[in-house]
Symmetry: C2
Subunit: 414 residues, 2 copies
């Protein structure tokens, strides 16, 4: 190709996929106004790259807590799933859930220690550098907060599903460290504790701890981010977010389940609220088209979204464009990792009619993502169960999006 202008100046539009359509409008209202382009020095341009000033996707707080207090209230911020591509969540946009405000522990990794004690032969304390002398492994896993549940009044997929994210985690298998300290007979649970004010403790069964849990120091190719537990966190694949203890400083091997600060909502005498639900069931959500987005007109589109399960690998994602009457298999568009997000997609021609879009995930155990009506019937509660019961019980129900005749997209939960 020489440096001349192209000789052919009239470019035809295809009669097929892109026929006569204007550009799709902004996918979300959840973006900040473009800022003035930052002036970067040459030194900065070399040292550390930044995103384009045209890219303004940001996290937002959960709807009920628009202005979290920095020194006391729960700090939960939502990942902008409507802007996501692939399966990796950029570390800067990973959801955050902490229980004592926005200020996270400022830990010097040189000073940090992990203690493992309790029912063990050799209680040990590990520095970060000592941990790095153990064999590490890197695996892609989602982490999802128990509070990630949809409600009729939530408008966007960021609001309905933004408390899940997916990263490549690197760390030492907890099983290696437990073998190093020597677990004693009769031990059945491990309790993990963070460094923050409320300690973020949680109890998991020893069998899970010996299976696939990571003591992670890496996320997406670099050290953990402070909001994700720098310098050390637990990654408990497939389990609710709260068990993935951040700023990890202590693991105690014990013989029974220990109640902790984080057990609010997990244990209840009310059988209608899920008690001690550890593992996420099969779940999926369409990220395009999703609530708050706008289709410019009839034509060809890609329906796309994310699916995951605490029960292993996603085996199938189906999509319905007629409110659940018929379903078609979507394509799984990338490498499938157990207990990780997978991107799905499906070609779709929208004729301009009002319709309801849904996705449904089936995992390797054969478990199928339920409708909200199915869950309500099972628990014998009203269909607005999740709405009225707050964060009790995990929500892996099917999310319906209604496309109106004008191309606007809305949350279709009744």
């Amino acid at each position: 190709m020489d440096s001349k202008k192209p000789s052919r100046r009239k470019f035809l539009k295809s009669g097929a996929a892109v026929a006569g359509l204007a550009a799709v409008q902004s996918a979300s209202g959840q973006t900040a106004a473009p800022e003035a382009r930052p002036q970067k020095s040459l030194k900065d341009l070399i040292a550390y790259g930044e995103r384009s000033h045209f890219v303004t996707s940001i996290r937002v707080p959960v709807v009920e807590r628009p202005s979290p207090d920095a020194f006391g209230l729960t700090f939960h911020v939502l990942s902008p799933l409507q802007d996501s591509v692939g399966i990796i969540t950029p570390s800067s946009l990973h959801f955050v859930g902490t229980h004592r405000g926005s200020i996270v522990p400022d830990i010097d990794p040189k000073e940090h220690r992990l203690m493992i004690h309790g029912m063990v032969d050799r209680p040990l304390e590990f520095s970060m550098e000592e941990l790095k002398r153990f064999p590490s492994v890197s695996r892609v896993h989602f982490i999802e907060c128990l509070g990630n549940h949809s409600k009729a009044e939530y408008k966007t997929v960021q609001e309905t599903h933004g408390l899940t994210s997916c990263s490549e985690w690197t760390g030492v298998p907890l099983s290696l460290l437990l073998k190093e300290v020597g677990v004693q007979k009769g031990a059945a649970w491990v309790v993990s504790e963070g460094s923050e004010e409320v300690k973020g403790a949680g109890s998991i069964r020893l069998a899970k701890a010996m299976d696939d849990v990571l003591v992670a120091y890496g996320q997406n190719g670099e050290a953990l981010r402070p909001q994700q537990g720098f310098p050390l966190r637990l990654v408990v694949p497939g389990f609710e977010g709260i068990y993935n203890t951040k700023w990890l400083r202590r693991i105690k091997v014990v013989d029974r389940y220990y109640m902790t600060y984080n057990d609010y909502g997990h244990i209840s005498n009310d059988p209608k609220v899920a008690a001690l639900t550890f593992r996420w069931g099969p779940k999926s959500v369409i990220t395009f088209p999703s609530g708050g987005q706008q289709l410019p007109g009839p034509g060809f589109y890609q329906i796309t979204g994310l699916a995951w399960s605490g029960g292993g690998a996603v085996r199938r994602v189906e999509v319905s464009t007629d409110g659940g009457q018929t379903w078609k298999d979507a394509e799984l568009r990338g490498a499938i990792h157990p207990m990780a997000h997978i991107r799905f997609g499906m070609n779709w021609k929208w004729e301009g009619q009002e319709c309801v879009l849904q996705s449904r995930c089936t995992d390797e155990l054969g478990d199928v993502q339920p409708t909200r009506a199915q869950v309500a019937k099972f628990f014998n509660v009203a269909p607005d169960y999740y709405h009225t019961h707050g964060v009790q019980g995990s929500d892996n129900t099917i999310q319906p999006w209604r496309v109106a005749g004008d191309g606007s997209v809305h949350n279709a939960i009744a």
Copy 2:
């Protein structure tokens, strides 16, 4: 776990893996001094997370060009591989190679267009939103600059190997777009062109274009970074970096190889310099312990590094700790993707003796990473071939690191 202090206050050190060793010292001299902790507003803490102020890993320019001119000289900056974990390169730390300085095109994605023309039935121009109406795919691939070659005078793995990086790329298969425009009989090559001053053009065979090439708009879960071609680039799996055209604006389907600005160094009458070498051979490098790092003393360590090949998936990585006399299989520690980095690791007990560490990659084609002596013999040139010939020809030779008796680590290229 209650809120009391641990009852056991004396923690023993294991007699095994971590016996009596002080912390490993800083892994690299290529880090910036810790900065004062930035004062972030609550709004910023919500919107977009940042790394810890204790994490100071940065890119650096290639050794020969310490102060690239912003308006003319080549801008090549090296990824800090010595600090890497897993296989994903953080987008902010991805290597950069451009040919007209540090200023990259500032492209408004709403205005950007990709033209496909030449020997096609229907020349077309695609907006970014039109491209997103095509089925996308997400795949993990490395990109490596032809200039990524080691020399005796390079001290660290950032200097010897920092022009390779690995990302999850999301985009439209080029084959779909070529089918949309209708490739005519007789077409055999495609020429891609970027938007920057020198256009960054390159020619690849039509067969490759129809195979696995992506027109990518996503990187690691978000839009491409400006230094990586925002809003659109070509990803040509396994090929030299220069074919992965950034700021992609034009693809011309043609019947023959087109010479472009980027063909300096690729075509030569001298048989001693590799001509038109497209695909990277099997390659690997140990990132720990590597040049400039310091072992605090004898004991157990993890030898770890990265391996990759343009010939598909990595099948095997071997490590030698005795200068190449004997080799042992390392573990491949993560999911293996074709034409992507894979993290390898091996347990190692260092007794305090001087020794030379090397890694050797074998890919799915059965190709084996060569020594520098083997390559020199093949081309009938001196062993310092890469040193004296500059960037001519790709370097996938085995990198030796010498561990001295005092634990310091050095480049062992003669």
